[in-house]
């Protein structure tokens, strides 16, 4: 793999291509052949801003800017416990459908993943971009891709929740000076179980070594992986240990080619900050690295395993407000320690809507009746909306809300 290199991706498209050419075997320039489903034969053809393809594996650059629909059952399985932004979720409830725009960053990651040589160490992608440009949405799209291609999903919807709003914390009985988040760990295990419910019954996913939780409670080698998950959910005391064991097992299993793993962590930079709301029994506030739940997730983003992909996002909002750094670049947000840990990675920037994407989005809003004001559909109205929102997806949603 590439050695450490200085991150120079301020305007780094070239850099990205250079890095990627080493890491992944580039796909040939032909896009995957699209098979048109029977829906195109209907009397009502889909409008131009909607994609015929609802499966992320088949999305290609010609779908860029179009909206695709996620099946409600898949949405329930993937995003029941978080994973899509709250504002977007509300919008979906209003529209009675879950439609997501197919955008360049997600297509880029999926394209790389299709052409990755999975015998090599896990490729790491780092999403960055200004607030509201679609980091989390890109992650949701890639997550759907991973789900479709039967990857085992390790997904943290928004890591800062653990450190900003911990449900309960107590000193760790086994490790000196560390603090447990038992309830949050259980919640994450339930999330994991829900997302991978279709895979956990697979006999290939069996435990590679003995895990001893206490004198009487032991998970033996060869037991199904689901047993560790169940153990963590039923015995709250061992939940964090179970996460640690689970992620180590997944790394081993992936290495042995018994499963593929996709790791998706939103707000990854909080792991390397120095402040949380969590206190020890002595009322001393501690940094994230002294919380037991941190280390397994930092560990799985290392490059010492293969047959997987790691997608993390860095976000200024992950920090506490006082610590925010007014930057959106990975170097500034991860800090020296975090950057050292993640390097080398493929930086992927999320940007504001392009002219075409903005146009498609307005058309979609008009179709869904989100924009009722007759002036908004006119050219002048569109110009004004583009100017006020700066074609930022989140801002556009806010600006069009009272119209």
């Amino acid at each position: 793999m590439i050695g450490k290199s200085v991150f120079r991706a301020l305007n780094g498209k070239q850099e990205v291509v250079k890095r990627c050419s080493k890491i992944v075997i580039r796909a040939s320039s032909t896009v995957p052949q699209m098979s048109l489903p029977s829906s195109s034969e209907n009397s009502n053809p889909l409008p131009f801003f909607r994609s015929i393809q609802n499966s992320p594996s088949l999305h290609a650059s010609n779908n860029s800017g179009q909206f695709y629909t996620i099946d409600p059952s898949i949405k329930k399985q993937l995003f029941l416990y978080g994973g899509i932004p709250k504002t977007f979720d509300e919008l979906c409830n209003t529209f009675k459908e879950t439609c997501m725009m197919i955008r360049e960053p997600a297509l880029e990651i999926m394209d790389y993943m299709k052409s990755t040589n999975f015998n090599n160490a896990a490729t790491r992608y780092c999403l960055y971009g200004k607030i509201g440009t679609g980091k989390s949405m890109t992650m949701a799209h890639v997550l759907h891709y991973g789900f479709e291609n039967s990857f085992v999903i390790v997904h943290v919807p928004w890591a800062p929740y653990w450190y900003k709003f911990p449900k309960e914390y107590s000193d760790c009985p086994t490790k000196e000076g560390m603090v447990d988040l038992p309830l949050d760990a259980v919640a994450w295990l339930i999330h994991f179980k829900n997302q991978n419910s279709h895979l956990l019954a697979d006999p290939n996913l069996s435990v590679c070594q003995d895990w001893e939780w206490s004198k009487r409670e032991i998970t033996k080698k060869g037991a199904p992986l689901a047993e560790i998950v169940e153990m963590g959910i039923n015995r709250v005391k061992y939940s964090t240990n179970c996460i640690e064991a689970l992620l180590q097992e997944l790394k081993q299993l992936s290495d042995l080619k018994r499963c593929k793993t996709i790791v998706v962590i939103d707000g990854f930079n909080i792991f390397f900050s120095d402040k949380t709301k969590i206190k020890t029994a002595a009322f001393e506030k501690i940094p994230p690295k002294r919380v037991t739940i941190t280390s397994p997730f930092v560990d799985i983003t290392k490059q010492d395993w293969s047959n997987g992909a790691v997608i993390v996002s860095v976000d200024d909002l992950a920090f506490f407000r006082k610590d925010q750094r007014n930057t959106h670049y990975p170097r500034g947000l991860l800090g020296p320690e975090g950057f050292e840990h993640l390097d080398p990675f493929i930086p992927i920037e999320t940007k504001n809507y392009s002219e075409k994407e903005f146009h498609y989005c307005i058309e979609y809003f008009l179709e869904r009746r989100w924009i009722i004001n007759p002036h908004a559909a006119s050219e002048e109205g569109r110009k004004e909306l583009a100017f006020i929102s700066n074609r930022n997806p989140f801002n556009l949603l806010k600006v069009t809300a009272p119209l």
């Binding site: 009675k96 459908e97 009746r369 009272p402 119209l403």
Partner: protein, 237 residues
């Protein structure tokens, strides 16, 4: 109701003649009472694009360019989505000069109105969607205010040492201001956990259908006016 309308018509006739007299005799006094910082010959600013274009087309702009003009207000924008009616309401919602917050709150209420309508629309079966009209929240608010505006109010008038609640007709501006005031009062009267904009949205939607608390308030006032119609002559006696 018929007696109320009769009462209003008689009162209106009297007040019209009185106002006409007043206007005729004391023009100077009334205009100076407005305390404008601008002299009378200053004209209002033209800030809408279409109005400005019309001025250029008619050639009126040459005359207007030489007349001194008042400064435009902060709420005067050439935005496509400008609505003078709602802008005025935002000013009434504003507290301690925090206009940004007031605007956010009112816009949020419009968003809620829109969302509830769209949600209803999308959950309908396709054949019923044709009959369902989604109304512009600004238009809906306009309709709500029209429904809520009172035609008569009670004023305390002292006659023989006793204060009588005397019914008097209100002009359009005063009625609109009262309607705004009632909307805000009704939205503030809520549980602590309910948001102002949610309650405001509910009140607006109710009033647009001629139901709800605010409309009831108007009807109660009218009823009171009718009950006190015996004191109506105290207005000019």
């Amino acid at each position: 109701m018929s007696s109320l309308t009769k009462l209003i018509s008689t009162l209106a006739r009297v007040s019209d003649t009185k106002l006409a007299l007043l206007n005729h005799s004391n023009v100077q006094i009334i205009s100076s009472a407005k305390m404008s910082q601008y002299p009378k010959y200053f004209i209002d600013p033209t800030f809408r694009n279409d109005e400005l274009n019309a001025l250029y087309e008619t050639g009126e702009v040459k005359e207007k360019a030489l007349v001194p003009c008042r400064a435009a207000l902060t709420e005067h924008t050439s935005s496509e989505f400008y609505s003078s009616f709602t802008r005025k309401f935002i000013n009434h919602v504003m507290r301690k000069g925090n206009k940004q917050l007031a605007r956010e709150v009112v816009e949020k209420a419009f968003e809620v109105i829109k969302k509830t309508q769209i949600q209803k629309y999308h959950s309908l079966p396709p054949e019923k969607k044709v009959d369902f009209t989604i109304r512009d929240p600004h238009e809906l608010f306009h309709q709500a205010v029209i429904n809520v505006k009172p035609i008569m109010v009670l004023t305390p008038i002292k006659r023989g040492g006793v204060r009588y609640q005397v019914p008097v007709p209100v002009d359009d501006l005063q009625a609109t201001i009262l309607a705004y005031k009632w909307f805000i009062e009704a939205s503030k009267d809520k549980e602590r956990t309910v948001r102002f904009y949610n309650k405001l949205a509910k009140e607006i939607m109710d009033a647009a259908n001629n139901t709800g608390r605010v409309v009831k308030k108007k009807l109660d006032l009218h009823k009171q006016c009718e009950a006190n119609r015996a004191y109506a002559h105290y207005r000019w006696n």
